[in-house]
Structure formats: structure tokens, C-alpha cells
Symmetry: C2
């Protein structure tokens, strides 16, 4: 880390972010939980294994088609817990509010959080509020932390992954990022792009019920599927090849990405997951996913390979292979 000052790129979920985590946070807080650098930490309390996670949300604008900061704050943390294989149970929320913020908007956000919590079957058990002066924060920032219980016979782990395992996406990708960006820039699409923000824990429960099939799960939020796939390639020390044409993307998101010069692979999702699944059980997992309202458009998008050099590759529609790089700068600031 040569920079002397934090820049927006350090919040991108990409290279610089991982540099920050590896060079500042992990050395300071050195412990086996953080070392895994996953979305949730699994901790033991006596004979119980619980998952813990935290996320701060700084989305701009606060309200957009398909959701608002409150819904994202609940779903984001529920999903982080679910991706570890845990069953989300309890959430806390810490709000930082700028003086002058409209009480009515705060009420709307809280109702939205409550509705999302009910949908996800989790309870918001504790909260904290700080108010700072005008100009000291931008509207409202919301942190949610969550606890879940882990009940699987073994942890989802990169160590389980083998060449030939398949990559499944739970539906059309890039939607949340484009919903927020088009709302931010007042671009009128018809139909408008609505964020996919949703709690994925019930979908995950169905997938995990296919015993031993699911090896890794991740919700590709900031940095999009490109970042998740690259992190996975690193973690498993193998390559991943995806077939571009098999990645579900809605025509509207495609159009918005073209307009804004954004690669949909890097656009954030808040209601989609990627899974690495045992090849022999992939069809069965795909079937249960497609039966779930949040997984109707699930598709096998690629597989784990032994290609060298290690990395993420995309097979294009004309049959060529391109490298899918990890994100470098800050493509979409304040997307979650």
C-alpha cells in the first residue's frame, strides 16, 4: 500500500480494498476468524456454532426503483450470513443521521427495514442512533450486523472445490448497480430498472438441503460477479471459465450498461448469488433453485478448471476467451 491517503478505490470491493484488508485490518486484528476474509465469521459459543457479520450502507440515492437503503441494509446482512451456510436469526442496526434529515423519510426507511426483516424471518433486536451536524454525513448511513446459527455437518470451504465443479448464478445479474446508477443520474428507462434487493436465505436453505452439493456461496454485491469470481479463483487456487452467453442479463440492464459504459459483470447485485456446486448434483440444485421465486432464472454459467495462468476467463459468443479482471479503481461508488 503506497498511498498515504484513502481514496474511493479502497471502498470498491476490488484490488485496493483487498490490499487495505490484508495490509491494515488483518495485521492489526490478527485472529483466525478474520484470516478467512469471508463475508461472515463462524464462531463457537460452547457447542453452538454461530455466524457473525457486519455491513455499513452508504447508498446514494437513498430511494430507488425496487428498494431503499433500509431494505438493502437488512437484505445485505441476511445474505452475508446465508452465504456462509448459516441460518440468519438476529440483526442489530446502527444509524448515523445528518441533522436536517426528514423524519418522514426515516420512518419510511424503518418500515422498509421491518418489512425486509419479516420477509427474511429475522428479528432486529438492538439499535443505536447518532446524529451529526449538517454536512458531517450525507443524509443517513446504516450499519447492520447479524447473527445466525450454523447447523450444517461441515463448513462451505474452498478446500471442497474440485476441477469440473460448476458455477451457478441465481438469476439476472447487474440489476442493483444499474437501478441505483440510473436513479442517481435520473435516467428514465422504460420499464425502469428495479433493484433485485431481496433476502436469499430461504433460497439458500433449499439449495443446502441437496446434501453435500453446494461447496461455496457468495452474493456478488459491490464489484459484481467479476469480483466474486476472481476472489474465488484466488481462494481455490484454480481457474474459472464462464460462458458469456449463459450469464443471465436482462436487456434493459444491458442497455443501461452500454449507455453508462459499465460492464454488467462489475455491476452490483443485492438479490443474487453465485454457487460452486458439485457437477454430479448441479442439475438437482438447479431444479430446486428454479422452483424458488428468487431463483426462477437460475443458470449454470461456467465451471472450475485447471487452466493456467490461474484466473477468470469468459468464453465469448464468437468462441474466443477473454480474461475477466478484478476491479481496479472505483467503478460505482456508494452502490451499497
Amino acid at each position: 500500500m503506497n498511498d498515504k491517503h484513502i481514496t474511493l478505490a479502497y471502498g470498491s470491493g476490488g484490488d485496493k480494498y483487498h490490499q487495505l484488508v490484508k495490509e491494515v485490518f488483518v495485521p492489526a486484528f490478527a485472529n483466525p476468524y478474520l484470516q478467512s476474509l469471508s463475508d461472515s465469521a463462524l464462531c463457537s459459543i460452547d457447542n453452538k456454532k454461530i455466524a457473525m457479520t457486519t455491513d455499513s450502507f452508504v447508498i446514494k440515492p437513498l430511494f430507488f426503483p425496487g428498494g431503499d437503503i433500509g431494505r438493502v441494509a437488512v437484505c445485505g446482512t441476511v445474505n452475508d450470513l446465508a452465504m456462509s451456510g448459516a441460518r440468519p436469526l438476529f440483526l442489530t442496526t446502527g444509524m448515523i443521521i445528518e441533522a436536517g434529515f426528514p423524519v418522514d423519510e426515516l420512518k419510511t426507511i424503518c418500515r422498509s427495514m421491518a418489512a425486509a426483516a419479516a420477509e427474511a424471518n429475522v428479528v432486529i433486536v438492538a439499535g443505536d442512533t447518532k446524529v451529526v451536524d449538517k454536512g458531517e454525513c450525507d443524509g443517513i448511513f446504516i450499519n447492520t450486523a447479524g447473527v445466525g446459527i450454523f447447523e450444517l455437518p461441515q463448513e462451505l470451504s474452498p478446500a471442497l472445490v474440485e476441477p469440473g465443479d460448476v458455477i451457478i448464478a441465481s438469476g439476472e445479474i447487474g440489476t442493483h448497480g444499474m437501478a441505483v446508477m440510473t436513479a442517481r443520474h435520473n435516467l428514465d428507462f422504460s420499464p425502469p430498472i428495479a433493484s433485485d434487493v431481496a433476502p436469499l436465505n430461504s433460497l439458500v436453505a433449499k439449495m443446502l438441503a441437496v446434501s453435500g452439493a453446494v461447496k461455496l456461496l457468495r452474493d456478488p454485491t459491490r464489484g459484481g460477479i467479476a469480483s466474486t469470481l476472481n476472489e474465488w479463483a484466488d481462494d481455490i487456487d484454480m481457474s474459472i471459465e464462464i460462458v458469456e452467453n449463459n450469464v443471465p442479463i436482462s436487456p434493459t440492464v444491458h442497455a443501461a450498461c452500454d449507455l453508462l459504459g459499465v460492464d454488467p459483470f462489475y455491476s452490483a447485485n443485492e438479490g443474487k448469488l453465485l454457487a460452486i456446486v458439485d457437477a454430479g448434483m448441479a442439475q438437482e440444485v438447479l431444479n430446486v433453485m428454479q422452483e424458488h421465486p428468487l431463483g426462477e432464472k437460475s443458470a449454470i454459467i461456467g465451471q472450475v478448471t485447471e487452466d493456467k495462468p490461474r484466473g477468470v476467463y469468459a468464453r465469448t459468443s464468437i468462441g474466443s476467451k477473454r480474461i475477466v479482471m478484478t476491479i481496479n479503481g472505483e467503478q460505482l461508488p456508494r452502490i451499497c
Copy 2:
């Protein structure tokens, strides 16, 4: 709540804050955990009872004599868990950083968090970082959430409190508030006022070992002991009388309070607790507290009474009785 916009007073920990909680948060999130409005929520996972809490920290300045935002962020959450009678185990941290923030200061803050966590014997298991543009937040805001295990035979509860129970303070009050205020205004005191910020869980463990003695615990942070005592008077539906001369206050804090026109009863603490203790066991509890490095100056400062109207009263040095009001506006913004 007649205000249409949030003002600084809503973050004070006083009347307006409680109005916000009771009229916005509790109705939205209605559930039995939040209803208790205590610092931590006790939740059950199968046969285990765990405590959960969250707190966001927006202190200005970030560094001050005796500590920094990192130390306060860890100790604050550890203390909230400890006040519920739980044993703190795991913390998460969410940081919101302004672009341009010095990497060296971030490293210092992380080291400080790690040191405080080690001191409190808790582990920081998960984290999240968001970066916002210059001017969109003020330096750095830190959220910590925590989980502890509750192992007492019964919960600490207002229902246990009886007239005659005594109020114990664990040492000199008002120190954190004055440390931050004098640092913020560049006032040079000699000796400088150092914040009392410290993890109180080991002190609490000693107190709880006196079986059945402790009925309620609270760390009087923003709003000071005046706010905690008033909240308690409400919760127990009895009155509290304190003896002004028995409340430990250091001469330097007294002087700073006089200079800044602040009542030390309203000045924040980050390493002190108040306890309501059974009268018959009060001396025993006081003894174990005074043997602990963080409780050397513990003192009995008052008692629970049946005085009407219900409220908090202070017996002054000339023998008169004054009402100790709850805080109304925002006396000390961004003190934690």
C-alpha cells in the same frame, strides 16, 4: 414528535432521543427484544442465551488524551454487553471512511481497537469498510456490534429493584466528556484531562460474583449519570436520591465543567458504571469493586426511594434537595 426534521438533540441520549426511539423505531420494528430499550438485547439460540448490541461512534476529535475513536468503539460495545450481565465474546466492526483520510491514522485506530479488544478479552471477528467522497462524512465513523453469552441464573431487571437499594458509581464521573471537549476546544489543562475509556467486563464479572447482589447495571455514556439515573427512575417507577458530595468527581473535571458551563452529571463516561445493588450486600460489592483497578474510587452515591413525584433528586452540600432533570437539548454533540 412534532419536528419534521431530525436535529442534533435527537442524538443526545436524552428526551428527544427517547422520543425518536419510542415513536419511530419501536413501532416500526415492534418486537419483544427492542421493547426493553436496554443497551443489549438478550436472545435465545436453542438453549443458549446470548446478548447482542450495536453502537456507532462519531467522536470529534478522533484522538484525545486517554484514547481515540478506536478504543471507544471497542470499549463502548464491550461495556454495553457487560451491563446486561453477559460475558462479551465477539465483535464486528463497520467503518465508513472519508476519501483523503490518512492511512497512518487508520492504522493507529486499528491498533488501538486491537489493543482494547485484547484488554477486554474479546475477538473482532468480522469487518466491513465503505469509503465515501470528501465532504460526505467527517473523517471516520466506526460501528461495532457485539455478542456475548449470558450465564446468570436470572436477568438483571428493573423488577428486582426495591426501595432502599443503593446506587454505586465505579469512580470519578464526567471524565470522557470533558477530555473530548477540552481536546476539541484546544483547552490546556494541567494535568490534561484523560478520558476514562476502558472495558468494564472484568470489573462487572467480580461484581456479579457476589451472588444476587446486583440488580441493574448501566454505563452512563452520552447524557452522563443524570440520563442513566432518570432512565432508571422511569424503568423502576421509583425515585432515586443521590448525595451530591458523595459523587466522585476529579477537581480537574470540576474546573473544566465550570469553565465550559457543563454540569458534570451530564458529561459522558466511557469507563464507569452505575449499579443498583441490594442494600444488605452493598458493602461487599463495594469492596470487590475497590479491589479492581477500574473500581478503586467506587462509592455509594445514593439510594432508591419512594419519594413522590417520581424522579431523580440530589441532596446538596447545604442539605437542600434539587431535581436532577433529564437532558433536553444536545449538550455535548459527538462525544462518542
